[in-house]
């Protein structure tokens, strides 16, 4: 729309509209009567064709004419009240955005209290409330299922939220913080530092941590390299650090996949996990409900 910001176009549109209305009014006024030619009969439209076929003139009723004038009046009133004449905003100052905001605040006023009811309750209490769980599920399906799945079991690159394995911690408050502020899980690329052989050795060692199938010789060689390059985040024993979202490597839960090839790819290129912050978009009350719902997901198991 940047082409139409100059005031010329506003005047152009307003001018065409005003001229059209004036012209239509004049046209209507002049077309209510007709001058008859000499010898022309008012009742007949055509004299005769096909020998004997004549068409009678049936004048429209006058109220019909008033309807035409009424539409002109309607148009003028409408253009005075609402935007339509170029950039003129109209007496009522109506706008689509304004209407949307109005409806939004109306909806918030109506549904806000339903969510706010749970805000003061402890997350564990909310998680146990069946109604809150239902609402939480609906929110989850709307805002979270695109990445974590309708069943919250995640996918490659998106953590499973239904098990007991947590990257940043599974207590209710940490879950709430993850949802509210988002998370950025960064695993630096180590391919250049380790070299191809080194990467392979470290990958084998990582596989050995979780008791997976691995090459024992390579793993033994990777042990020291792991201590140098990886232990700062994943700890010397490979159990990870929840404070920075470094995953536990000693279990069989893998975010990107647990095959040797995938682990090599992870080490070589690094990973960039990104959970977007929801607080600004959803507000406190919804984040609270979602946190309780997600916390409740793994509690029954």
């Amino acid at each position: 729309m940047s082409d139409f910001v100059s005031s010329f176009w506003s005047l152009y549109i307003a001018g065409i509209t005003v001229i059209s209305i004036v012209w239509v009014t004049w046209f209507l006024k002049t077309q209510t009567t007709r001058r008859l030619a000499a010898n022309e009969k008012a009742e007949l439209i055509e004299k005769a064709w096909d020998g004997d076929l004549q068409e009678l003139n049936n004048p429209l009723p006058r109220w019909w004419l008033w309807l035409f004038y009424l539409t002109i009046v309607f148009g003028v009133v409408y253009l005075a009240l609402y935007p339509g004449l170029g950039s003129y905003k109209g007496v009522l100052d109506w706008s689509a955005t304004g209407q949307w905001q109005q409806e939004q605040s109306k909806a918030n006023a109506q549904y806000g209290p339903v969510f706010d009811k749970y805000l003061k309750q402890d997350l564990k209490v909310v998680a146990a409330d069946p109604q809150a769980r239902e609402m939480g599920q609906r929110l989850f399906l709307t805002y979270c299922s695109q990445c974590h799945g309708s069943d919250a079991a995640g996918a490659r690159g998106f953590p499973n939220l239904t098990d007991h394995d947590w990257l940043y911690g599974g207590d209710p408050e940490t879950i709430q913080a993850s949802i509210a502020n988002g998370r950025a899980g960064v695993m630096p690329a180590l391919g250049a530092a380790l070299g191809e052989q080194g990467t392979k050795q470290v990958a084998s060692y990582v596989l050995s941590l979780s008791g997976s199938k691995h090459d024992a010789t390579l793993a033994a060689a990777g042990r020291d390299k792991f201590a140098t390059y990886c232990a700062a985040c994943h700890q010397a024993d490979g159990k990870g650090t929840q404070a920075m979202g470094a995953p536990n490597l000693t279990d069989k839960v893998w975010l990107y996949g647990g095959s040797e090839a995938t682990i090599i790819e992870t080490i070589t290129k690094g990973r960039n996990g990104h959970m977007p912050a929801q607080l600004d978009k959803l507000g406190n009350a919804k984040v609270h409900l979602l946190a309780a719902y997600v916390y409740g997901l793994s509690q029954g198991k």
Binding site: T32, T33, S150, A153
Partner: protein, 457 residues
């Protein structure tokens, strides 16, 4: 000289008429209006028999509940209505206009009220001409009050098809109607009052599109209200004792009864006109005059253009009813009725949609490829059902969930999350079609299948 292209409306005072066709019209007015005013009060299974619940988007018609997804049936109904109109029009002209159209029906009701309060044509004209006095004020007030009462009742009944009429009656009595109910009752009421009280023939003449294509629906074998000019002309007044043949006169006594009874104020003796709504009031009026004169009836009658042209006598009109045009309409009509009937009988009140989760396929700990779907199951029937879900389409494909049993409330929707798993060895392509079958446990006929795709990682 100047000619006005818009004319001031002339009020028409149609004269009351009785006779065979008038009785038919009364019968049809009674039939359609008993149906219209009565139907919303009927009950079925503890609820209103016909209720178009727009807010809930459920349309209850007797034992059936229709959903917005069933709109195709409405299409069928409209096509049936259209072809019936074509067929009836091709056979006997504007039967719809003259006998069943709401505009005619409500005008008849309003005219009946008007005649009972103001008297017939001449009395009405006299009353309108005279200056305002107590009697005129009293009669006019009574008429408009009766009109408004009927119009309001009509508007109320109309809304009663969309919101339960018994509750509506209670809130109407307590004056606690919702804003939209109030609006529609008064809007529809005012429309009835205006259309049947004031607009009348103006609607037929200037607004109704049906009048515009009357000419293409007629052919030379269509029965229409026709003045037999070969019998009637030359017209002229005469005393009952005059021998018309000797005087060189036709059967038309030029009494203008046919014009006086006409609700659209046309002279049928000028031939068929688009304003003619085929109400046959002129036939009844003329028949009475012919009887009085001792002439045979039928100077104005239902007959065809070909009869008037002398191609065949009135007695063989029936043999001309069946002709290609009416046969084609009948066959099409029967076909659509049969199709709609079959579709209604075989309708399965169960629907489902399969929505695959946007996330990529995942690999389970057992090495299966897993896709997650949300199955939206709609129970379109007014009782609860338990459905069992199964999946097919690929060898060895299965559902991971332990109990793919879903309980759905009457007229309810349920989102079931299902996990579909398959051995990766069975997948040769990146995307394969799969089918979900949803079957009711209590009624095996209640089964539906939805298609989706299964993605390999």
């Amino acid at each position: 000289m100047e000619q006005a292209l818009y004319a001031v409306k002339q009020k028409i005072y149609p004269r009351a008429v009785s006779g065979w066709f008038a009785s038919w019209r009364v019968a049809l007015v009674l039939f359609t209006q008993l149906l219209y005013y009565g139907l919303p009060w009927l009950s079925w299974d503890g609820r209103q028999a016909i209720l178009l619940d727009l807010a809930q988007r459920k349309f209850y018609i007797l034992g059936l509940v229709f959903w917005p997804q069933d709109f195709i049936y409405l299409t069928g109904l409209l096509v049936i209505a259209a072809f019936s109109l074509f067929l009836f029009t091709a056979i006997a002209g504007r039967l719809w206009c003259g006998f069943a159209c709401p505009q005619t029906v409500y005008t008849e009701l309003f005219l009946w009220i008007e005649r009972n309060i103001e008297g017939d044509r001449l009395k009405q004209m006299k009353l309108d001409r005279q200056a305002w006095n107590i009697e005129k004020i009293a009669r006019k007030t009574a008429k408009h009050t009766a009109w408004l009462a009927l119009a309001l009742w009509t508007g109320f009944t109309f809304v009663g098809y969309f919101t339960p009429i018994k509750e509506l009656a209670i809130s109407f009595a307590h004056w606690t109607l919702g804003p939209w109910e109030t609006f529609w009752i008064f809007f529809y009421g005012c429309a009835t009052y205006g259309n049947a009280g004031f607009m009348r023939e103006q609607v037929c003449k200037y607004m109704c599109p049906y009048a515009r294509f009357q000419s293409v629906m007629f052919d030379s074998d269509t029965l229409t209200v026709t003045y037999d000019s070969s019998r009637g002309e030359p017209r002229g007044p005469r005393s009952k004792s005059t021998d018309r043949h000797a005087a060189g006169l036709g059967d038309c006594v030029d009494c203008s009864i046919c014009v006086q009874v006409c609700p659209t104020d046309i002279d049928i003796r000028n031939g068929l006109q688009y304003e003619c709504i085929g109400c046959a009031a002129c036939i009844d009026g003329c028949a009475q005059v012919m009887a009085k004169m001792g002439y045979p009836r039928g100077l104005i009658r239902y007959t065809t253009e070909n009869v008037i042209k002398g191609k065949y006598p009135d007695s063989s009109i029936l043999s001309h009813v069946l002709r290609p045009r009416t046969l084609i309409y009948s066959v099409l009509l029967l076909a659509i009725v049969a199709t709609l009937g079959m579709a209604l009988i075989s309708r399965v009140p169960l629907r489902a949609d399969a929505i695959r989760d946007r996330i990529a396929a995942r690999e389970t700990a057992e090495g299966y490829i897993e896709n997650v779907y949300r199955l939206q199951i709609i129970n379109m029937e007014n009782r609860p059902h338990r459905y069992v879900i199964s999946v097919a389409g690929l060898p060895g494909i299965k559902l991971a969930d332990s109990s793919p049993l879903v309980q759905v409330a009457p007229l309810g929707t349920h989102d079931a999350v299902v996990h579909v798993q398959i051995d990766p060895g069975e997948l040769s392509t990146r995307s394969s079609p799969v089918q979900f079958k949803i079957r009711s446990l209590d009624n095996p006929d209640l089964t539906t299948t939805v298609r989706s795709t299964f993605l390999n990682r």
